[in-house]
Structures are given as C-alpha cells and as structure tokens.
C-alpha cells in the first residue's frame, strides 16, 4: 500500500449554525485516483475549498506529505503541490487560451517580475503551454480569448490551467460538469492518463466515470465521510446504497 499523500483529520467547518464539514476523516494515498461522491449539499465543494486553502476550517488538521498545511493559504499550498479546479469554470475570459495556461506555468517557474520580454514569446513558457493545450485538444484555439470557447472547451481549459501548476495532488471539482458525451469520454481518457503522473481527488457526479476510474471511493453524507473503499466495496455497501446509490445506480 502506498503511503498517504493527503490526510484529513477530524475536519469541521461550520457556517453559523450549519455544519458543512462534520468530523471528516479522509486519506488519499500517493498515486491513487480517489473519488469523492455524495448527494448535493454533502459538502464536497466546501471540502475542496478547505483542502486548497481557500477556506479555513473551524477545527481539524490537513496534512500534505506528512506536513501540517492547515494554516497555509491557497498560494502557499499550490507551491507545495496542491492545485484545484473549479466546479464553476474559473478562467481569465478576456485573455487568450494560451495566456491562461501561461499564467499558471510562469507561477510554477517562480516569480513573474519580468517586465520586458513578451510572455507569449518566451520559449520556456510557450512550448510547454502549447503541449498542454495539445493534450487537451485546444491547441488550434490557442490565440482565441477564453470567453469564446464552448462550455466543454472551457472545462478542458479549466483542467489545463490546473495541470499547468505542476501540482502533485489535483483536487478536481466536477471536471465533467455539463459536458457532452463525447467531451466526457475525452476527459475520462485524459484522467486515466493523468493518474499515471499525479494523485487525484476527484469530485464527480458521473457515476459511470467514477466507477471506471477510481482506485478508491469515499462517500460523503452531511459533511461526514460515510464509507471509503474500492469501487466494488462501495457498490456492495448497504449503508451507501441506502444513503446515496440506491436512487442512482
């Protein structure tokens, strides 16, 4: 068994009287694709926000690679190697597709206090950016503003930007949300390929994709981790069937 890359211990997040994350324990092992499923409102996106450092938990600890990162902000966590994508596409709409990727790449290469050379002309940025776009079948759109892309293409660019950070742990919040069948299939193929290089925590509603891709699955119900196991174990778990899968599978 691989060592754990991400450990979540007793995580609690309350908003006033509402408990969004309730004593959550979770472990993502290095190299696995760990899927997170659960009904709407189970607190999946809230958890992603806490793991990525955009939301401070009320209680509990988050360990990355053995180190406590609970107190670190989003920027510092990306530098450590945790990057997220957004359920609701979050890009720079007026910038070109290429520039969107370049921003993430140049962040990875250190500071951007370089005032003279055109960012789009720098080979160290341009080449990896184009390669990234080719992987996501967006290379021929490189010079278009991100806002003119179709929904599916924007979802792919969203992933491209997240990948370009070079993070070891990807927190993907419904990468296939609203995608057409063809686009989803491409995304599944891509995630399968990505699994070889990084560790992935995948939040997804597409059960076919989840059961096809995941090494392990955790089921979130009311902010609490109800069960964790292999796809077969989860399918067989009576509690999970009752709480969630009953109506969908």
């Amino acid at each position: 068994m691989n060592r754990p890359l991400l450990q979540v211990q007793g995580l609690v997040k309350t908003f006033g009287g509402i408990t969004a994350t309730d004593d959550l324990h979770l472990e993502v092992r290095e190299g696995e694709l760990h899927a997170l499923i659960g009904p709407n409102g189970a607190g999946k996106t809230t958890l992603i926000a806490q793991l990525s450092g955009m939301l401070a938990p009320t209680r509990g600890r988050i360990l990355f690679d053995g180190e406590d990162v609970t107190g670190l902000g989003a920027v510092e966590r990306v530098r450590r190697g945790i990057a997220r994508s957004f359920q609701i596409t979050s890009l720079w709409p007026a910038l070109t597709v290429l520039e969107n990727v370049i921003i993430a790449l140049q962040a990875r290469q250190g500071h951007a206090f370089r005032f003279w050379e055109r960012a789009g002309d720098a080979a160290v940025l341009r080449h990896p950016a184009i390669q990234m776009l080719q992987r996501l079948a967006l290379a021929d759109k490189a010079h278009l503003p991100a806002q003119v892309l179709s929904h599916g293409e924007q979802r792919q660019l969203e992933l491209a930007v997240t990948l370009a950070t070079g993070a070891r742990l990807l927190l993907l919040d419904e990468p296939m949300a609203g995608m057409s069948g063809e686009d989803s299939q491409r995304m599944v193929a891509l995630l399968r390929e990505l699994r070889e290089h990084c560790t992935i925590l995948l939040v997804e509603h597409d059960m076919d994709a989840v059961f096809a891709l995941a090494d392990r699955i955790s089921v979130l119900v009311y902010g609490h981790c109800e069960a964790t196991g292999t796809p077969d174990e989860i399918r067989a778990n009576p509690d999970v069937r009752a709480a969630y899968l009953g109506e969908e599978v």
């Binding site: 990525s52 955009m54 902000g73 989003a74 920027v75 990306v78 530098r79 990057a83 997220r84 957004f86 979050s90 890009l91 720079w92 709409p93 007026a94 910038l95 070109t96 290429l98 520039e99 370049i102 921003i103 993430a104 140049q106 962040a107 990875r108 951007a112 206090f113 370089r114 005032f115 003279w116 050379e117 055109r118 960012a119 789009g120 720098a122 940025l125 341009r126 080449h127 184009i130 390669q131 080719q134 290379a139 021929d140 490189a142 010079h143 278009l144 930007v161 997240t162 370009a164 950070t165």
Partner: protein
C-alpha cells in the same frame, strides 16, 4: 519528449496577425508624423499657441497612460492619481524656488541647496512620486473596490492640503517658477524645445508600457483584474504585482509632473486636486481602458473639447458630460473602440 516535431507555431487568431499589426504601425506612425509636424505648422502660421496646447495635451496623455496601467490593466480605480503628478511638479518647483532665492532647504537638519539642473531635479522628482506610490500603494492595496477608491482619494486630499498650507511655497495660490530646469543644452522653458522633450517622453512611455503589459508581469497584472481567485489557485499572490504596477505608474505620473512644471512654469495645489484626478479617469474611460493608445485619444479629445467648447461657453462640461455618458453606454471600448479593428495594433 520530442518537442521539435510538434507544431509549436499555431495559427494566429484574426486580428492578431501581421496585417493588422502593420496597419496599427502605419496609423501610429501617421499620428507621430502629425505630432512632429505641429511645431512647423505653428511656425508657418506664426502662432506658438498651438505648440503650447499640444504640449499640454501630450503631458496629460502621459498621465492618462500611467493611470491606464493601474486602472485599465490592473483594475485598480485610483482616484488620486494627480497626487503623483503634483508631487513631482512640486519637487521641481521647490528646488527652483530655493535655487532662485539662494537659501537652502532645511530638512531634518540637512541643508539642501536648490537646483534647476534637470539631471538632478527630475530624477529626484520622479523618485519622490515613485516612493509616494510605494508607501500609499502598500496601504491602499490592502483594500479593494470602493475602499480603494476612497483611500486613494484620501491620500491625494492629504497631499493637496499639505500643499495648500505650505505658505512658503505659495499655499493655495501656487508657486511660480522663475527659472525652469535646464536639461543639458535644452532649455525646458523654451516652448519649441520643451515640445520635443515631451513628444519623446510620450513615445518612450507608450513603448515602455506596451512592453510591460505584454510581459510576464503584465500578464499577471491583467489576470488579477479579471479573476483574483483563480490567480491564487495557480499559486500567485497579486499584491506585490499590483504594488509594483502602482509604483511604475507613480513614476510615470512623476515624469508627467516634471514636464507639467516646466510647461506651466508654475505649480499649484490644483495640479493634484481630486478634480484633476477625476479628469484623468474621464480621459482613460473616454479613450478606452486597457488599450494604452486610448488614453492618448482621450486626452486629446477631452482637452481639445475644453479648448474648443471653452471658447463658446464656460459651461462646456454640459456638453462633455452627456458625451461621456454616451461613450460609456454605447462605445464599450471607449473612443478607441471606434477605431476599426483592422487598424488596431495595440496591446493584446
């Protein structure tokens, strides 16, 4: 990986190709030729007034470009930008004041002699503006939105009242420069010579800012305007980049300030009033934000309208006001948006 086998040069999008760039260059050069010809036309007409007018407009264009860097590209609505202009202008004025009176300026026990050497005074003045931008920006950039607007306004007003209360330097009446700085062999008090200095400064500032907005730094700055959350999600904290942009803009406004001091041979608190800051915002919005050449168009349009309509009625802003509303409502990109797309070679 076999990088060389990949088609790394993708086809440029329409509007970004070589054709429009060349058209943009042609239009830019035509405008430059027009500006170069102004002193000769004015000479032929025997009316130096036009040289003065265009000099002043070009100085305002530098201010507007500087504001566009923070407002247009960085999304920081600075409502006190004239303070950086005024601060530099006052440094020139005060240095000139002590040079002509012969008494040194006593500051914190140091005796600083006055000077009218532009090689000394101008860098000092520009550095003062940059330093001011650094200090004020470091504080103001901790806020955003409406608070940022109010805090920049507050800083500018603070400086304005310092100038008003500085009785030695004329207080509210301002300070007349007996002698304006000389730049080596160039006398900046000479209308013709100053015109060329200002034109060179305008072109240099425009080219410099074009490099900056397309650089890695500029990319982060533009990105911070659109989506700060995404920026932090890829590991970039925008604060330092915004502050750097603020300091660069402050320094460029300082350049405009020293030129303004020479062109007016006078500095007054009005040069850093909130009205002036507001006019600069109008020029940028009117001309077209985040375009760099838009603010130049805006400065020309606004000030020519002031000169032109000002002859007809002193209430010329009655015309300018609705015009601004129309431009904002219908010409989304400002006046620059009316320029045919094929001509545009500007920042992208």
């Amino acid at each position: 990986m076999a990088e060389t086998s990949l088609p790394l040069e993708t086809t440029p999008a329409p509007g970004a190709g070589a054709g429009p760039r060349i058209n943009g260059l042609v239009v830019g050069l035509a405008c430059l030729a027009l500006l170069v010809s102004v002193p000769f036309i004015a000479g032929a007409l025997g009316d130096a007034f036009y040289v003065r007018v265009v000099t002043r407009i070009m100085i305002f264009a530098i201010m507007a470009i500087s504001l566009d860097l923070v407002l247009g590209f960085g999304g920081m609505v600075c409502f006190g930008h004239a303070m950086f202009v005024g601060a530099a202008a006052y440094v020139v004025g005060i240095a000139g004041f002590h040079a002509s009176s012969g008494d040194p300026l006593v500051l914190a026990g140091l005796q600083i002699p006055g000077s009218t050497n532009a090689f000394v005074v101008w860098p000092l003045a520009i550095a003062t503006s940059a330093l001011l931008a650094l200090v004020f920006g470091a504080i103001a950039l901790r806020t955003s939105g409406l608070y940022f607007i109010m805090i920049t306004l507050a800083f500018a007003q603070m400086l304005y009242f310092v100038a008003v209360s500085a009785q030695t330097y004329g207080g509210v009446d301002g300070l007349t420069l007996d002698t304006v700085p000389t730049l080596g062999p160039i006398d900046t008090g000479n209308r013709q010579q100053l015109y060329w200095v200002v034109l060179v400064a305008l072109v240099a500032v425009l080219l410099l800012c074009r490099r900056i907005v397309n650089s890695r730094f500029g990319l982060v700055l533009r990105a911070s305007r659109f989506n700060e959350t995404r920026l932090s999600a890829v590991g970039v904290a925008p604060y330092r980049y915004r502050l750097a942009a603020f300091v660069i803009a402050g320094a460029i406004a300082g350049v405009a300030g020293v030129l303004l001091a020479s062109s007016q041979a006078f500095v007054s608190p009005a040069d850093m009033s909130w009205l002036r800051s507001g006019e600069l915002i109008v020029m940028v919005v009117l001309g077209g934000m985040a375009t760099l050449y838009g603010p130049i168009i805006g400065a020309f349009f606004y000030l020519l309208a002031e000169f032109g309509l000002g002859h007809v009625t002193e209430h010329w802003q009655v015309v300018m006001g609705p015009l601004l509303v129309l431009v904002v409502l219908f010409g989304k990109g400002g006046l620059a948006g009316l320029v045919p797309a094929a001509w545009r070679g500007g920042a992208r």
